[in-house]
Symmetry: C2
Subunit: 142 residues, 2 copies
């Protein structure tokens, strides 16, 4: 299934339009898989679609996140990066060396449940970033 076939109906169902700009950006995110900064998305998407502007990239990434096709994440340098929405996971980043690992949402599930029942909020985001020290860097701490 192509990106167009996969994502166009999802947008239409919500009353939005598919555009070449959105498709190019979805295509980049889909085939890259990882986290990309808006600038990285812009550079890549502009190759597929000359004339694309930064403003559109920023607006589109935010739009895709609101519509659950992409997920924003805080990365090590305190900026937001985006990835295509796939399985629910979180990130651990080492403050010292930048090393990063993924954690399945299942591990946090009961904590989410408790947080929801204590606060009354319904938690929608499943893409947190935790900071800490990786095993290697803990040794150097002593």
């Amino acid at each position: 299934m192509t990106c167009a076939e996969e994502y166009t109906p999802q947008l239409r169902a919500r009353g939005y339009r598919m555009t070449p700009q959105r498709l190019a950006i979805l295509h980049i995110l889909h085939h890259n898989g990882g986290h990309l900064s808006p600038v990285e998305v812009f550079d890549a998407a502009r190759r597929e679609l000359p004339g694309l502007t930064e403003a559109t990239v920023y607006r589109t990434l935010e739009f895709l996140a609101e519509n659950h096709l992409a997920r924003p994440a805080l990365n090590g340098n305190g900026h937001i990066a985006y990835e295509i929405a796939r399985h629910e996971h979180h990130h651990l980043i080492c403050r010292r060396c930048g090393n990063e690992m993924e954690v399945e949402h299942a591990i946090l599930k009961s904590m989410y449940a408790r947080l929801e029942s204590e606060s009354g909020y319904r938690l929608t985001d499943r893409h947190l970033t935790f900071f800490g020290l990786c095993p290697d860097c803990q040794k150097g701490e002593l």
Copy 2:
């Protein structure tokens, strides 16, 4: 105890210097209490200290965070804000209305422990931001 009396020894102990710039920014954060964006800090601190530059504000906020005198937090619009380091807590923000509430770290403690043992990381940050829907906005969802 004044801000100078409180914070100067903490910086000295780590081998850093207290400066009028750092003191002004600490003073702002300390007496405001809440989350402030770098621009808000800049505007306020500049009143106490004309000549202060944006570059110094950004560098100082990052420096204070690294040294545990301030804590960075992701706020509703996806940007980083800072607050003076006090008790350990997290935030819940409503995606729809922006309503925000604090959650004591105690509630997440066991989840942190599990995450640490499963990953090998030692988690240093105690200032997460969770997004979701507040009780009121859930009603409008139906």
